[in-house]
Symmetry: C2
Subunit: 357 residues, 2 copies
DNA sequence: ACGGGCGATGTAAACGATTACAGAAACAGT
DNA sequence: ACTGTTTCTGTAATCGTTTACATCGCCCGT
């Protein structure tokens, strides 16, 4: 193996910097002929440094490609500029849109976003609960209450030391942390009333999991709507689902076997509503004629289902944005509202039809 | 406002620990009557510490509720046990399912997941590119090539120092990093052939964005499929979309105006396929009779659309899992394959019908 | 009795930033 | 010339771990 006869010029893409380790603040200081203190100041408070020194530092920074090490900063400053977002399921289109809103404003403020995907696993709940306490993140947004308060063991981990928290979409009773949500009860009432106003008399309710705080509100709203329309409440018409397409599809049979058969179903989310409509169609039932359906959330597919789905619109992205803003306020020590309620509206499409007189 | 007459007992939930700061390793050491070195060893390598000391340390840890500070660990160990996942859009159901797979195995291995949501913003691309270089994370998974290589400025940021990377779903030409993907070309060919075998003769293609590496493969597969079926390639039947429901719906008109009208459309994702079917139905076109439709991805809603959507199934969660595993291998210095191709399969549903003789 | 080996422990030096404090230099006002 | 003020800079402590190295017993074989 012969040596090359001529020295090879250094590759142009690596400017001055040695092949080895990333540049440290000390390298920059040496190169600029100043102390590390001056480098640090030149970067974080340029006005406290003479123009000459500042220029030399900037030059040295450019040459070395220096980027402050984040672990060191975190340690020294006792904050990480990271936020943990805890949610039941990233792959759920409802949450992931909220995630997008959170990311929007977190990024704007220079914060990074760590995902805690609970996935129904108590292990994960425990993990992320301690995660909060270990200085990994400056704050957290909780999309359900499992982490603190209402774990399956009845108690869950104790509220972590002093990390600011914000609850999003679902209240965490007794946790005493700010909450951003929609008025689920009012929305459910409006949806139920809407069906009643279209002449529907046997209005069923396909709910989410029973333990759910937010679901309690919706059930209450459903009953209020019935009452307001002068319709009797029939517990037999309330069926519990788990927010999945499959749950919706699976519920169809049950509803059809009820006697008398319901002429409308209010579903606690759009997935179940779409799953239900699909199964009803397959069973030869006319939607919306025989059975009208209302969903909840207004996910993108609601407008694409056949028939298009009448549903309660939730401002998902805005929910995320608002939650993140409140958390940032608390992180910055600014005053923040204890609770925010965002508006919903009923989006009328083709899955509800008028009936009778 | 009257003072309470009796002192209140300390709340029972705070065991021994002072109200102030979180416990440091030194607190534990003092309490256990050992040095900090022993505490550290007791926790990370118990067998190197005498049973007696170990017991005292554990007791002290329990009493103080000590959790090692992560910033300090990261700094000392030069690793963060965090992985950055960069993707175009968290709220997209295609990516978020992959995210779930990634999270599965990352969590299992004790790694946390930071999300870099590009959202089409060059700012964000730049941000996350430097993010990689600042010791925030030990490695990254890239769901598109924008971060390195093919940014809009033609170059993007230089490949970051030495952070292990893995590309997922979309190759990053020239980056020389492991890639996990499906055989997009073969899958597109199979989809096109499937339509041809059902007697479809004017098969259109609703594609993703043109710059897309993966999209080039699908277009190539589409043309191969046509060729294999003995059908002519007509550039007029290739329409570019952007993977959204709206793009699918918007493309319907164009297809219907073509003369002769196409009798099938192969769509590069399910959202566009569903949007297209919706708009076709609204225009009074019979799907699958007049126009058959095939999608790509097999998202959950594919089975719930009317008609149910025939589509190419991608193992999204498994893609995520595999990508994460390879990254972990590289992080651990284990040998890792340079590239993995996962299988797809065509899921036949109701959006394709046979035609003619 | 002595040296070697071994296991358990402690001391102190990293890791890479920020910043309190103090010193130096420059300048102005008397 | 002296003092006080202002502006800039450097020294060194600090954040909370981990771990190389040194030390200290202790046991064992000769």
């Amino acid at each position: 193996m012969r040596r090359r006869s001529r020295p090879i010029p250094a590759p142009p893409e690596a400017p001055a910097e040695a092949v080895g380790r990333a540049a440290r603040i000390e390298d920059v200081a040496r190169l600029a002929g100043v102390s590390t203190a001056t480098v640090s100041r030149a970067l974080s408070a340029p006005e406290r440094v003479s123009p000459a020194a500042r220029a030399r530092v900037m030059e040295a920074v450019a040459q070395t490609g220096y980027q402050p090490n984040q672990a060191a900063r975190s340690l020294r400053l006792q904050k990480s500029r990271m936020v943990l977002v805890v949610l039941p399921d990233v792959s759920n289109i409802f949450f992931s849109k909220i995630l997008q809103g959170i990311e929007d404003v977190l990024f704007e403020a220079g914060y990074g976003m760590i995902i805690g995907n609970l996935d129904g696993s108590p292990d994960k709940e425990a993990h992320f609960a301690t995660f909060l306490a270990t200085g990994h993140v400056d704050g957290a947004i909780l999309l359900n209450g499992h982490l603190i308060g209402q774990g399956r063991d009845g108690r869950g981990a104790p509220a972590p030391t002093h990390v600011p928290l914000v609850a999003l979409c679902e209240a965490i009773p007794g946790a005493g942390i700010p909450l951003v949500e929609v008025d689920n009860r009012a929305a459910a009432r409006a949806a139920t009333l809407h069906l009643a106003e279209r002449g529907r008399r046997r209005i069923a309710h396909l709910t989410g999991p029973a333990g759910n705080v937010l679901e309690r509100e919706r059930r209450a709203g459903y009953r209020e709507g019935l009452a307001q329309a002068g319709l009797p409440f029939d517990p037999d018409l309330v069926v519990e689902g788990d927010y999945t397409l499959a749950a919706g599809a699976g519920a169809a049979d049950g509803f059809l076997r009820r006697a008398p058969r319901p002429d409308a179903v209010f579903c606690s989310n759009d997935e179940m509503a779409i799953g239900l409509m699909g199964a009803l169609a397959s069973a030869g039932v006319d939607v919306p004629g025989d059975v009208s359906v209302v969903g909840f959330d207004d996910i993108e597919f609601a407008a694409m289902a056949r028939p298009t789905l009448t549903t309660v619109h939730q401002p998902r992205r805005e929910l995320g944005r608002t939650g993140a803003r409140i958390l940032l306020d608390r992180l910055a020590g600014r005053p923040a509202p204890a609770s925010v309620v965002l508006g919903t509206r009923l989006v009328e499409r083709m899955s509800v039809a008028s009936k009778g007189g």
